[in-house]
């Protein structure tokens, strides 16, 4: 298996000098490439504890950097910059600035759980990726990702009615992310399907979109969930040293 390494020596930290004399000795051509001195002074010592306080991040302290997570990672195979082992390393050291270089891709974890399957230390790297993505959002380093918006639209519907009706879910998601529902590939696919479906079934599906399936007797459950979500949101903000939310999220 390949070891996916991540070098801390980036091109911008390499300095090439064509003419160089050191202590009166001309070393041009022999010793032309130097690594810039790099001093890290801005450790965020709270970062690991804060991420560990979010759901999924609990076991980050167990990691011993074997790299099984990155080796097995679905997303790493299509984007080598997606490197869970490296991010866990940075978080544990408190190297926030380094982590922020990758802030816009961490949310792309597809939750396939190959890392969790491979991890010999039960770190649950999948959970750590989710916790880290949430940490970045709660701390204001990134805007809520489209995945977070989808999670929220989806969960709000489940909390409100007990069930998901896919048409409503898609309309809600596309509206909140400012995308058109009439994307060419989607329209083409649905047109093909509609031409094959019997009228009765089409009417049933149409009715479901109007009537919204819901779970009977959901009222008290809905309230219990809403209270719990508010309580958890508040306790996470406290753990992250954030002021109380200006208004409830939902």
């Amino acid at each position: 298996m390949p070891i996916h390494e991540q070098s801390l020596i980036r091109p911008e930290n390499l300095v090439r000098q064509d003419k160089l004399t050191i202590d009166g000795v001309d070393v041009s051509g022999d010793w032309s490439t130097f690594i810039e001195t790099r001093v890290v002074t801005d450790y965020n010592e709270a970062m690991q504890d804060e991420i560990a306080a979010l759901p999924g991040g609990e076991y980050i302290h167990r990691c011993w950097q074997c790299g099984s997570c990155t080796n097995s990672c679905t997303v790493n195979a299509i984007n080598p910059d997606f490197n869970p082992r490296y991010w866990i390393y940075l978080i544990r050291l408190g190297m926030e600035e380094e982590l922020l270089r990758d802030k816009d891709i961490i949310w792309q974890c597809v939750s396939c759980n190959k890392c969790t399957y491979a991890c010999p230390r039960d770190v649950v790297p999948e959970g750590v990726m989710k916790a880290t993505a949430h940490w970045l959002e709660l701390k204001g380093h990134t805007r809520p990702s489209t995945a977070t918006v989808f999670d929220e639209v989806f969960s709000d519907q489940v909390f409100a009615t007990g069930r998901i009706e896919e048409g409503r879910l898609m309309r809600g998601f596309f509206a909140r992310t400012g995308q058109s529902l009439t994307q060419e590939w989607l329209v083409g696919m649905i047109r093909g399907l509609v031409s094959r479906l019997p009228v009765g079934l089409l009417m049933r599906l149409g009715l479901a979109a109007v009537l919204h399936p819901r779970t009977g007797g959901w009222g008290r459950t809905r309230q219990a969930i809403a209270d719990y979500v508010a309580e958890q949101d508040a306790s996470r903000r406290t753990a992250l040293h954030l002021p109380p939310a200006p208004e409830a999220r939902r």
């Binding site: 759901p55 999924g56 679905t74 299509i78 792309q108 597809v110 939750s111 396939c112 759980n113 190959k114 969790t116 399957y117 649950v124 959970g127 989710k130 949430h134 489209t146 995945a147 977070t148 918006v149 989808f150 999670d151 929220e152 989806f154 969960s155 489940v158 007990g162 069930r163 998901i164 009706e165 896919e166 048409g167 898609m170 998601f173 060419e184 590939w185 989607l186 083409g188 696919m189 093909g192 399907l193 094959r196 479906l197 019997p198 599906l205 479901a208 399936p213 779970t215 009977g216 007797g217 959901w218 008290r220 459950t221 309230q223 219990a224 969930i225 209270d227 719990y228 979500v229 958890q232």
Partner: protein
């Protein structure tokens, strides 16, 4: 083989009432054809899918446990969920409640507030539609009932992520011969082989289709799905058999999207394993909802005498 699966509680889940309609229909039809009774859970709710856990994992446990409690109250020891997501979440709830007191505490607290009795672990076993057919009828039992063999149909069996990972929530798997394997699952292969199909050696059985981000990160999903499709074709498959509505509609959607957006056309057809087994049992393609799939495989099936 066991008699206890002759009549089980049935948890279709949200997807099977929407895009996975054909899976719902074909599962019920196969049950009828095999003389197995399914009793739908009354007033079931969403298991939390792949989204609620990102809001709060224990809330997902509560939602899933509520369904297990309904099964218990209806007098069932077994609930069958054909959707990998539902199956996975019910299994995970069972595991978490048995091993994590904090999860049980949240379920107890929320149930009390909602005016329900909380589910306690150990009362209901969750099985997949694959376990259901395999253990109630057996591969030999299925072979004996085949009226329209799938002979000549080359199938890549695709199980996805949620059926086998993470390993610890499936204590019955990886128990040697006769049990399901989490690294190389074979229950669907076994059933389709009994139905006469020729299974191809497919190395991506448990690879990911990107279903969690199918809409929120479409390009990643399309790339992952395209890899699944082209690999299946390279392995010689006519059909990819699925056992999860999210994988299934992900494969269909991103097959269409790969063609429109990436300009990459693939021919392989996508069918639920229950549709294939239904047709092998002599049901018509229409009866098992082949016309409800986005991936139009009617021509291929007619050519193989399965239409």
């Amino acid at each position: 083989m066991t008699d206890k699966y002759r009549k089980v509680a049935y948890y279709p889940g949200c997807a099977l009432e929407g895009t996975g309609h054909a899976y719902n229909r074909s599962t019920k039809e196969v049950g009828k054809a095999l003389g197995l009774e399914l009793v739908e859970l009354k007033n079931w709710n969403c298991c939390g899918a792949m989204e609620v856990k990102n809001i709060d994992p224990k809330l997902q446990t509560f939602l899933s446990a509520r369904n297990l409690k309904i099964a218990e109250d209806m007098g069932f020891e077994t609930v069958m969920a054909p959707c990998n997501g539902c199956y996975h979440n019910l299994k995970k709830a069972e595991h978490d409640l048995a091993h994590d007191p904090a999860s049980q505490q949240v379920v107890d607290r929320l149930s009390a507030k909602a005016g329900q009795t909380a589910y306690q672990p150990g009362h209901v076993t969750t099985i997949h539609a694959l376990d259901w057919i395999r253990d109630a009828i057996g591969t030999e039992g299925l072979r004996a009932r085949v009226r329209n063999s799938l002979r000549g149909l080359k199938i890549a069996n695709y199980y996805g992520c949620m059926y086998t990972r993470p390993r610890h929530i499936f204590p019955e798997k990886d128990k040697g011969p006769g049990s399901e394997s989490t690294s190389k699952p074979h229950f669907m292969d076994d059933l389709l082989e009994a139905a006469g199909a020729e299974n191809v050696e497919y190395p991506l059985k448990t690879a990911c289709c990107g279903g969690a981000h199918t809409l929120s990160d479409s390009d990643t999903s399309t790339r992952l799905v395209l890899n699944l499709l082209t690999t299946a074709e390279a392995c010689g498959a006519d059909v990819i058999a699925t056992e999860c509505p999210t994988c299934h509609s992900g494969l269909e959607m991103h097959q269409a999207r790969a063609e429109k957006v990436f300009g990459k056309k693939t021919q392989v057809k996508i069918l639920y394993f229950t549709q294939l087994i239904g047709m092998a049992l002599g049901l018509s393609a229409r009866r098992v909802g082949v016309h409800e799939n986005f991936s139009d495989s009617r021509e291929l099936l007619r050519a193989r005498g399965l239409g």
